[in-house]
Symmetry: C2
């Protein structure tokens, strides 16, 4: 297994809105925020017509690795309802291994309401639903120890799921495999800074993904250069994504600036970070240089921002072959 | 009410496939075919990961009219399940009136598996599900008599739903309103030729929509010119769509050739006919000339073929204003 990923399983509901509509809905642009069941119901009622696409940050990454021709597995929880069926179908049909047990009662499959503005930015409001029910028991030691990289998203809001993510990262690192963590969102960093720093300072993270804002939130007392210096000391490989300015790959003695891959019209940036991680980890598990890993990340991100939704609409292996 | 539409309520499941994958799935390109529950399950299992978008031909048309700023209502049946909730949400949030009762047991909300090839053609395999449960009792006389146009799709496979469509068309025409029918698909014409000809020959249809292939299937003994001549005799307005060659609007003493509207990349032609009808009927109920009605149809069709899914992703009223 090349890459095992863990996260909150979700179906995304994406709608295009103007900045005015976003404000009318009471949403602050680009700011992430959890919904409970009632809030999700209320906001969905007020939301324009949408498109449903399987999502969930770490699941998108697993899909990306499989679409590149790598082997991947996903751990995350859905219910046995229609959206759960869609989520599981989309994983397995792309070739991602998935054997987490589904719930048969309790909250429905999680969904993330995503509001996409004309500038292609996305404002996300997830309702965790059944994703909340993931527990450390869903993490099987042999599966983790058998994967070259284990990758967890930074949405650590559900306590049992967080324990599951930490358990997996610990097993992976202890087994001499690579443990990878995404900072996921500035709100996550603000909420779980101590947890993230704890695993980083314990030396349990081998690869860290984050964008500039997330990195600055992780080290709120310093500027970007110093923040990059700190992650260089804290983990062997760190990737800092910078939107249209490309990305930086930082390792002990190396720094690589990676340009963005060309893209026609940028329609919806949902999933850009997830697919960047997929390309990077595919490269890393296939003997590519760090610079090439970054290029693969950029290529995959460029595909997913060219259309609505966080899952690739064409086979990424073909995209790479033709690039 | 400008336009009332009736049809099989569906959520579309769209996946991009190569011609080879289509053949491997045993599907004949562009050929429509109904699935029963077991077949739907089996084909979905073999289908690549997809995108879910509310669909249903006549529902797409109602959405288009509302998105243009017109008033529209939809009659069609879903179940009280997650996909049914999505379907109803997407209708109402676009401003389409909808008050058909939902079923609480029996088959789930209908879905249409749609395979989109790189040439943007779509091969559709619908499972009717709850759409089968529509009956003439769901058609309220005052609603139909209060709409300028009542439009029914040609997917007349479910016997009770077919009776509901026919009831609505009859009420509309008798009330001095316009009854509009779409031929929908060559397979529909082959299956229901006698029914379609019966309502046309009874003079109950005021506006007929079809593409060239459907028209030739309706009159299998003659060529296109003669077929156009026959529909000119059978109903006051007929619209013949011709894909990238535009469309022809035929009325008693008039014939208008309408060019296609410019479109960047054609991604997925699903919904092209439905949105053409929306633009045309919006024009017709807003005092436009037949030529302008055709232009509005072309504009709306151009929007929907530029992305995945049969529902517009931007407000059509803004598109028209900026054209």
């Amino acid at each position: 297994m090349d890459v095992l990923t863990l996260g909150n399983a979700m179906v995304d509901v994406l709608a295009m809105v103007s900045d005015e509509e976003l404000a009318r809905l009471g949403l602050e642009k680009n700011v992430w925020g959890l919904l409970d069941a009632d809030e999700a119901e209320r906001l969905y009622s007020a939301m324009p017509a949408g498109v449903e696409v399987s999502g969930g940050s770490a699941a998108n990454t697993a899909i990306g690795v499989a679409s590149l021709g790598g082997t991947s597995q996903y751990i995350g929880k859905v219910r046995n309802d229609q959206l759960g069926d869609v989520f599981v179908h989309d994983l397995r049909s792309t070739g991602v291994a998935y054997d987490t047990s589904v719930t048969t009662d309790g909250p429905p499959t999680g969904r993330c309401l995503i509001f996409v503005t004309p500038d292609a930015h996305r404002t996300m409001r997830p309702f965790l639903g059944a994703a909340h029910e993931l527990t450390p028991d869903d993490v099987h030691e042999d599966a983790v120890a058998g994967a070259d990289v284990t990758y967890a998203e930074g949405f650590w809001d559900a306590p049992c799921a967080r324990d599951a993510f930490r358990k997996a990262l610990r097993i992976a690192h202890s087994a001499g495999r690579k443990a990878a963590l995404s900072l996921s969102d500035v709100v996550c960093v603000n909420n779980f800074r101590d947890d993230f720093l704890a695993v980083l300072e314990a030396g349990e993270i081998d690869v860290l993904f984050g964008n500039e804002a997330e990195l600055l939130a992780l080290f709120p007392d310093v500027g970007l250069d110093a923040a990059v210096g700190r992650v260089r000391d804290l983990c062997p490989i760190a990737v800092v994504t910078r939107g249209e300015h490309g990305s930086i790959v930082v390792a002990a003695g190396e720094t690589h600036e990676v340009a963005v891959a060309p893209v026609g019209e940028v329609v919806d940036t949902t999933g850009a970070g997830d697919l960047y991680a997929a390309g990077f980890l595919y490269g890393l598990t296939h003997g590519e240089t760090l610079a090439r890993c970054g290029e693969l990340g950029s290529l995959c991100a460029a595909e997913v921002i060219s259309h609505v939704g966080a899952r690739p609409q064409r086979r990424l292996s073909e995209l790479v072959a033709s690039s």
